[in-house]
Symmetry: C2
């Protein structure tokens, strides 16, 4: 039986999962692929720590070059994370004619273009299923399963930490800060949760999906990104009252031939499938020109789900190696020469319904003033909630609008926030009434 040697760089949680899964699935891989995948070397700075998985002595090294310079190693799995070192390792491995598997969304959304181009030139493959949605085969769906479709839209819940926090705020109640602490205790949020709660991790993943869907070369900085750190329990409660749930969504849409890309807390109908995605689960709702709506759901993170995606990529590449080929499917499922830079739509051009929460002094005529300004900016009101009447005190006035232009909304709020009766900066959230083409 053919033996294919693999080297692993990065022996952290996911790395340990990969080592375990390569061992566990040895039999399955033999039966399904007809090959023996041999983990020949693991490189990690820390060669002492016990990861709870057994490895042969001599397998672990601190020296990455023992992997990259080993001509017998055909596939390098990069799981160090971060951008600079990972980029260097991957580019070197590609130079040496090795295929690469990575889960590194930060890297790919920053310099995927460089890596993919080099891989195609060197005649090697790059697998990155694990970079979006953990074990959910969403990259493969975009690159292969839905290949005959133009992608009309993508809506993703692709950050488990943010979704866990919003789910807890919705069902258990509580403030963002407290639930974040709980999430950190449970291991659902990292000590530094910035990437997760500020939407950056979600933007990384969205950039990757957009580049596949549209043969593009955008970077995550190009994407309008807003996190969940501003979502209050008041907004969560009002969302429920209007029949919505608040989710941190990654959104990509083709609108009049241009691509809209944004990450922000979004109100979606409470009875939509995505609203039912709770806790650390992920889901991606893809609308294709032929297929209509497809939703892929599962665990978007964690040791074994992520390892499942990494090893699937390794097996994919092994199947190529067994046939003596590479580049059967281009990294982004578009031939490299057809990758083009695209201009994303400005967020000010967005046109959706909005949820707006004013902190206003409760006195007669306030609502009339607010709605007057909105009207001047062509924003029409769908419904209003003003509870807890306390004449002379500050109360939340909540308005849901019909479809409106973000540019107009911002201008209106600028005017409104100057009013004497408005005591805090007005808060707004975007609403998506329809997810996908037909749901």
């Amino acid at each position: 039986m053919e033996r294919i040697n693999v080297g692993l760089i990065g022996f952290g949680t996911i790395g340990s999962g990969v080592v375990k899964l390569l061992e566990d699935s040895r039999g399955i891989i033999r039966e399904r692929v007809g090959a023996e995948i041999v983990l020949k070397k693991i490189a990690d700075k820390d060669t002492e720590r016990d990861r709870g998985v057994e490895i042969e002595s001599g397998l672990l090294t601190q020296d990455v070059s023992e992997i990259i310079d080993d001509p017998e190693i055909a596939i390098v799995i990069e799981l160090v994370g971060g951008v600079d070192a990972a980029r260097k390792f991957i580019l070197k491995a590609i130079e040496k004619g090795k295929s690469v598997v990575t889960a590194n969304k930060a890297l790919l959304s920053a310099c995927g273009g460089e890596i993919f181009e080099k891989a195609v030139k060197s005649g090697v493959d790059v697998g990155f299923e694990a970079s979006v949605g953990g074990g959910i085969p969403v990259i493969k769906a975009l690159k292969e399963g839905l290949v005959a479709n133009r992608i009309n839209s993508i809506y993703g819940i692709i950050n488990g930490t943010a979704n866990y926090i919003l789910s807890e705020m919705t069902h258990e109640g509580g403030r963002f800060e407290d639930i974040l602490k709980k999430a950190q205790k449970k291991g659902y949020a990292e000590a530094d949760p910035t990437y997760d709660v500020e939407g950056i991790d979600t933007a990384h993943k969205l950039a990757i999906m957009i580049n596949i869907a549209y043969g593009a070369s955008i970077k995550y900085e190009d994407i309008y990104t807003e996190g969940i750190n501003g979502v209050t329990s008041l907004d969560i409660a009002f969302a429920k009252e209007f029949g919505y749930r608040i989710k941190l969504l990654a959104i990509a849409k083709e609108v009049n031939g241009r691509i809209e890309a944004r990450v922000h807390p979004t109100m979606i109908p409470a009875d939509s499938m995505l609203a039912a995605v709770e806790g650390v689960y992920n889901a991606v709702h893809i609308s294709g020109s032929a297929v209509g709506s497809v939703i892929l759901y599962g665990k978007g993170a964690g040791m074994m789900p992520t390892a499942s995606a990494v090893v699937a990529d390794v097996i994919d590449i092994c199947r190529n190696i067994k046939k003596g080929i590479s580049g059967r499917v281009s990294p982004l499922s578009y031939l490299q020469e057809n990758i083009s830079s695209i201009d994303l739509r400005e967020i000010e051009d967005l046109e959706v319904p909005y949820y707006i929460r004013f902190s206003a002094i409760d006195k007669p005529g306030v609502l009339s003033k607010i709605s007057g300004v909105l009207g001047n900016h062509n924003i029409s009101i769908s419904s209003v909630i003003q509870k807890d009447r306390k004449i002379g005190e500050v109360v939340p006035v909540v308005i849901v609008t019909h479809q409106a232009k973000e540019r107009e909304l911002l201008a209106a709020l600028n005017d409104i926030d100057k009013m004497d009766v408005i005591l805090e900066k007005t808060k707004y959230l975007r609403i998506e009434e329809k997810l996908g083409s037909d749901s």
Copy 2:
């Protein structure tokens, strides 16, 4: 640009969708695959009918051999349906060295083994993504995306007609027969709905998924199959009361090293993701050893969703042709020599909670008698509902049991149905409390 010739056998609804999609996605295919897929010939008995898609004159023939014998045609798409003719066409095409794409689940679940073996020997590929779940890339997920996993269980809502009828019964109310008629009027059910309502179509698709998941060669007749024609609005109502929904499920599970395979109306928790799959939508819940629960959701039928899967397969094969290879992934994702026949678990060995509805004369002591017999057969009761007390008349007595053995249940019901106070054959439905490993 490389041109790859394709022949289509069967110009019905799906065939027309494929013709349309090949035309619509010409640009995408060029950009993604770097090839021109040319539809060289279409064979259909009916060369007159207008399908609403434009084709060049001379493209349509009644003579299948114009496709099968044309050495320039590399891929044959079989969409005639049925078993005998389709089998003949496919085997001949394979003999002639052509790869094949089919949506024919009846055929594959009856003689997939023969077709796959021949394809491997002849060095061609067989694509059948469209045979299960329409446009949802579930076959690719099982064969590739989740390849590193042992499959613990599969739960599928994979017949849109049956799901539409059950959804309507649940939300709109009404009798099975009336809603079936409505479904037929809307085009959601065929004139002869046997395959759909009796669960046969679901069993076809389950057989295909099992053969991929376990490298097996079972046929659909091996699967215990029960349709939805016996589901009454009374059962639908009681299900709701107990916090369940009734769905026609395809179930495969590994239990103590053996595979359990069954198709039947099933009560599942109302708050599970599968319970939210309404109307003609399909969903497949796969539990893998590493990945945990993954759910794939979308349109399981219809012209364009099915065409999306067919053309994805065609493109997959084109990507192989461009690289000069075939058989990169075996038809069932197991090497042909590792396909083994498996003995499915007997339905009598099943152990699940049951919903049991007795038609009993309402008189004191009836419940005690019934529960006595159940107790004698080691069946313990979780809850009981007996409504509409009408002494001396027939009332439904509904019992939900704890986990019980089907063999014991059948023996108990056999005893109970002999009682004087029981006026109709007792009805039971199986309950699945937990779908997947972790949901």
